[in-house]
């Protein structure tokens, strides 16, 4: 499950990064930055969930 979630978050982040390479308005770029940041936070959550899982 965590593996699938990490892969999914990585691809969401990657798509946003590639979209940033194509320019766009400042508003669009800000939203893409937000997507990247939220996906990174998702990755931190899955890592934290994994650490908890190992101790339970």
């Amino acid at each position: 499950m965590r593996h699938a979630l990490n892969n999914l978050l990585g691809k969401i982040m990657g798509a946003a990064e590639l979209a940033l390479d194509h320019g766009g308005s400042p508003e669009v770029r800000a939203e893409l930055d937000t997507i990247i940041r939220l996906a990174e936070e998702g990755g931190q959550l899955t890592a934290a969930a994994g650490r908890i899982e190992r101790f339970t």
């Binding site: 965590r2 593996h3 990490n6 691809k11 982040m13 990657g14 590639l18």
Partner: protein, 131 residues
């Protein structure tokens, strides 16, 4: 000018496409393979300076692939990538380092971080050759 060559090995077609695009934009000549078995065949047919290899794959998984690459080509630069499995990515990536990966990145990672790691490894290799 010779372009740096990278072989990307991952069973996730979408991630493979994204990594290919990021490396191509950074000026790399890119080859891709959907598993370790095909990756090894492509490497033998057309060697590259850098291999990026996923760990959990259906046909010839990443640790075995990295071990085989490292044994046959000691100078090759290798980056392992993984989203983990039941045990989490860190354990697999530690194992990948142990069998010869130069760098290891946990998924999810930024494409920019992957390309930066590649540049760092190949930059260091170029400096080593020049000295």
């Amino acid at each position: 000018m010779n372009r740096k060559r990278v072989l990307l090995i991952d069973d996730d077609v979408e991630l493979l496409r994204q990594m290919s695009a990021a490396f191509a934009t950074a000026g790399y000549a890119v080859r891709a393979a959907p598993d370790g078995q095909i990756g090894m065949a492509r490497f033998k047919a057309e060697p590259v300076e850098l291999v990026v290899c996923d760990i959990i794959m259906p046909t010839r998984e990443g640790v075995e692939t990295i071990l085989a690459l490292r044994q046959a080509w000691p100078e090759l630069k290798i980056i392992a990538i993984s989203g983990g499995y039941r045990l989490g990515p860190a354990i697999f990536l530690d194992l990948a380092r142990h069998v010869g990966a130069n760098e290891a990145l946990e998924k999810p990672f930024r494409l920019a971080a992957l390309v930066a790691a590649a540049d760092r490894l190949l930059g260091a290799a170029s400096l080593g050759e020049a000295s």
